[in-house]
Subunit: 401 residues, 2 copies
């Protein structure tokens, strides 16, 4: 069987275990290891309040090599004060000791779950020990890792891309957990990616930032990024390619495959978002500049009334126009137009006659595109959104207790 998990690139082992952090008893501790050391890049939440794990990983990412990533679900270790920081460092130190990495700084840490409660460190440390014992390059180990990082996700989300760079086979793989508390600017919650490409650290960071910017950062589920969002990319350099040291065509090839992988993961997250039954893409064009286009697209994707209309298969395009108009982006009311896939419903500021049943069929697809033309310029941008269902309310009205 082909390995399509984060252990498919050469040089990586993974594991996922039940540490007992989650009351449900489900898997809640994941470990990713690169014994020879990996070049690492990461992107973190832009939320001003960051989890202890994010604070610690922000420091550790500066290390020349990263040997392991330890992740727990069930507890975000956020808003936990100084004790939270100490616990996050302890997770790194404990992992370093077990994977034979000299320094705690060679380990990255990520946490996700409830905010404001101290980590049960006894469970966490014994979980790390158990995970170390199960580290493996198999696809089942990769799947265990992808499962252990889940919170309200209903399924593990993974993707892999295989490409050739100057005749050398290179693999990139990723696992992601999402589900809720997702807003543009690091719509990630947690994303871990591995590759065996040989590449310089600044170029790896550049490729990651661009890929996330056009994928995970474009997804909004409920409009706010969390305190814990983290995307980590480890490169083992074991593929055997001549190292990428400049923004050459080989870099572009790698960066494009990475971007495609991230887009795949973002879409998987959208379709597994809390209560979501379908997703949509909002494309805004004809904007004065790209920032305006991005803002208008996000206003539509975040608008509860649009999300409800998508849920109900209701071609209520007035809500789309209302959302765009409520922003301060420049637009020309007399040139404003709107399309659902290729069906124009509003053109140059006036409604069009269209078949509502056809419109409804478009909306009820798993994925459709809302295109809004602001009629003022030539810039465009997009945003992914999901529908709002009763299940979102059910899931989130009682998550704590």
């Amino acid at each position: 069987m082909t390995n399509n998990t984060i252990t498919s690139p050469k040089g990586f082992l993974a594991a996922g275990v039940r540490a007992g952090i989650k009351k449900s008893g489900k898997p809640d501790l994941g470990l990713l290891s690169c014994p020879a050391g990996a070049t690492a890049a990461a992107v973190f939440t832009t939320n001003q309040i960051t989890s202890a794990a994010v604070e610690v990983s922000r420091r550790h990412i500066r290390s020349r090599k990263v040997f392991a990533v330890v992740v727990n679900s069930g507890n975000a270790n956020a808003c936990t004060g100084k004790r939270g920081i100490q616990n996050a460092i302890a997770m790194c130190r404990h992992t370093a000791g077990l994977v034979a990495c000299e320094w705690a700084r060679g380990v990255l840490v990520a946490s996700t779950g409830i905010i404001g409660e101290p980590l049960p460190m006894d469970k966490v440390t014994s979980g790390i020990a158990a995970a170390t014992g199960r580290l493996s390059t198999t696809s089942s180990a990769g799947l265990d890792f992808a499962t252990a990082i889940m919170t309200t996700d209903t399924r593990p989300k993974q993707a892999v891309r295989r490409l050739e760079i100057s005749g050398t086979k290179v693999t990139i793989a990723g696992a992601v957990k999402g589900a809720g508390m997702i807003g543009p600017n690091m719509a990630t919650t947690l994303c871990f990616m591995t590759t065996d490409v040989a590449i310089r650290k600044p170029l790896l960071a550049m490729a990651l930032k661009e890929a996330i910017g056009n994928s995970l950062n474009k997804l909004t589920v409920d409009g706010h990024q969390s305190t814990n969002d983290t995307a980590i990319l480890l490169a083992s350099g074991r593929a055997g390619n001549r190292p990428i040291v400049a923004r050459c065509p080989r870099y572009t090839r790698f960066a494009m495959a990475l971007a495609d992988l991230c887009d795949d993961l973002a879409r998987q997250m959208a379709l597994d978002a809390e209560g979501a039954t379908r997703m949509f893409k909002v494309v805004v064009r004809g904007a004065a500049n790209r920032a305006d286009a991005a803002k208008a697209a996000r206003a539509v994707a975040d608008y509860p009334l649009v999300k409800c209309a998508v849920h109900g298969g209701d071609p209520n395009w007035g809500r789309i126009i209302c959302a765009v108009g409520s922003t301060d982006v420049r637009l020309n009311p007399g040139r404003l137009s709107c399309r659902l896939d290729d069906l124009t419903v509003f053109r140059n500021g006036a409604p069009c006659t269209f078949d509502p049943k056809r419109a409804s069929r478009i909306i009820l697809q798993t994925f459709h595109t809302i295109t809004v033309d602001l009629g003022i310029g030539t810039s465009s941008d997009f945003c992914y959104g999901v529908d709002l269902s009763k299940d979102y309310v059910t899931i989130n009205a009682d998550y704590h207790t």
Copy 2:
């Protein structure tokens, strides 16, 4: 029986009828008349896309006197192009002819309902005629008006304030319709107020702007103001008070009563918001400036995860902190604190031990206050929010069809 409707101030008549605009056959046309002419002030949506009614009323409000306000529900007459403007003007002209007002410009118009469909003008004009025939100063006529302006509201919402200004009895009354598509900056949908005070037009406008700014503009249900939001205040001058011509203590007295009335109406709107079962006030203090405080308060009140937690009675304060942190307002993470009513749950960047059952009881009240201290300055502001329930989804997934 005391008249607590918009016909209670001297000089006003009202009516509400079934014109057949709504498919349900419910009342959908309201008429408010001031035969001797009223001094008028209005505040309109800040949405860039405005309904035809808003465009026309924005012009007509400049008239020295207003003799009538005509309102329809069931159709927003928004995104309807030039024909929409013509229809809005026709509504004013037709009303003017029937209430013996010389100019169409002496009539204001408001519409609410589905966006993007042409008004059924035959039904509207015969409805206006029927309403004219039923104009009356009775409280039942006032109630008919308050009922006719409703859309997804479950009950008419009215308030009255009686005060003395230098020994003269003055009355202010209002009727409002809300329910959905409500966001700060004219969280109004439609609000009509009457008073018999004698006051100069610029002072009436100033009092209205301030009152709306601290009440209806502070309420968010789903984060966006609509294309149609309108608040109109008519002053007949029939109370017999010495006219208010300056920002004197008598002005302040009137302005405070008006502000109190608007706050009452805003709270009624919140509790009758689509699917809402309870409301909350977010107070942000310790901010660098008032704009920051307002932005942070709104971020909390609009955050679906906070709204769901309030619905579930769940003291998940981490979501409150997350919402504040996701904004760009200045804050001191080490001094950040949060309270539910008088129960502190987070102090100086660290969680507090508290009784979760007590916290849950606080949240499950019809009204509770979330206080966040940003720990950076001395400014404060607030926002009203409502919980997010499954009924919101039910109501809005199928409104169109």
